[in-house]
Symmetry: C2
């Protein structure tokens, strides 16, 4: 691709403003597990509510995994078949189970004194544990949206393109990949690969249409 050879992979504006949804990839390109883990590690630097990091990823990269996914993403066969990997993103409704781990580690790393950890956990853990399902769903979807955006941008810094996909069988995806559907809320699929054809440009509403100044 013409575009690609000019992409400076650390150029913020080229990465952000040059991003388009790419649906067709070079099927011969594999992304190593090491590199994909690096992409995910960078993506998960995204912030989240009380740092609960409720995002969960199923990286679907084998022919068997893709075959299973293809049935649940019938409008997106090109992405499934040509991408290096499809990432199914979920939000964990019980992310609070990691609260103790996360905050202990923050103390251990010197990011936070023990007293602050205890104050913070006392302040949010009970409300998180007793949060109505609907409110928790809001939180995990918003936080997962954050990580998905960062993931798509980081993928470009690694030389790949992506397509965020919302139209798939959300009611079946968790169970298909062995996850408890009541715990893991589907967020989106993200295809990742080396672009084989460019994405289309797309129009955005003017800022004044979507913004009020107060």
């Amino acid at each position: 691709m013409e575009n690609e050879q000019f992409l400076n992979q650390n150029d913020f504006y080229q990465i952000v403003l040059g991003r388009r949804s790419v649906k067709s990839y070079d099927p011969s390109v594999r992304i190593s597990r090491e590199e994909m883990a690096e992409i995910l590690e960078e993506a998960t630097r995204a912030p989240s509510s009380v740092n609960m990091q409720p995002w969960r990823f199923v990286v679907i990269e084998t022919p068997e995994g893709k075959e299973k996914l293809a049935k649940l993403a019938r409008f997106n066969q090109t992405q499934v078949s040509t991408s290096s990997a499809m990432i199914a993103v979920f939000g964990d409704m019980k992310s609070v189970e990691y609260a103790e781990d996360i905050y202990s580690k923050q103390v251990e790393l010197g990011y936070m004194p023990q007293e602050v950890k205890e104050q913070l956990l006392a302040a949010f853990k009970p409300s998180y544990e007793n949060m109505p399902q609907r409110d928790m769903r809001d939180v995990v979807l918003i936080d997962s949206g954050l990580v998905c955006m960062q993931l798509m941008l980081v993928a470009r810094a690694h030389g790949y393109d992506t397509n965020p996909i919302g139209g798939y069988e959300k009611d079946q995806i968790a169970e298909a990949f062995g996850l408890d559907k009541d715990r893991y809320v589907p967020v989106m699929l993200i295809s990742v690969g080396k672009a084989a054809s460019e994405g289309y440009p797309s129009y955005r509403l003017p800022v004044e249409t979507v913004t009020t100044w107060v």
Copy 2:
């Protein structure tokens, strides 16, 4: 700030991996409406489901606006009082009202032939118009999460820092700023300003904890 003078404002990894939640800003710094519009324009290059762009922003920058907000964000008084602006992000449950506008513009700009526009609108508009509220809420929260992440990163490219805030009076925020609370779902507040003190580093769960490979 020491950090700041070394920040190359187009360095992707410095922007992304150097981002921390900053809660305290130089209160003397104003962001012009032109620059804030530019930040929002760049943020809204984020993708969204069928390009409906359901994000809406209330940029709160006047003393009167901030006074109103302060009552609804009592755990975040420092951000409200010292930031250049607080951005209240909402998701529009009726974004489909812009479908015709958006897709006509895509045709006008040569991004899409007229027939494709008609096929696409016919394919998604009825289902969007009749989507159960709960499903629509999921869509607008995820899409708004995407734009919020891009907004926080773009703000850094402009030399500012941010803090995403989820703990505020979500049930009162729409009406307080004259929006229909049934139509506009609160997503988060984002404070924006010139950092006066550095944010804290924070721990992330290892990739293997949040990822399954299939």
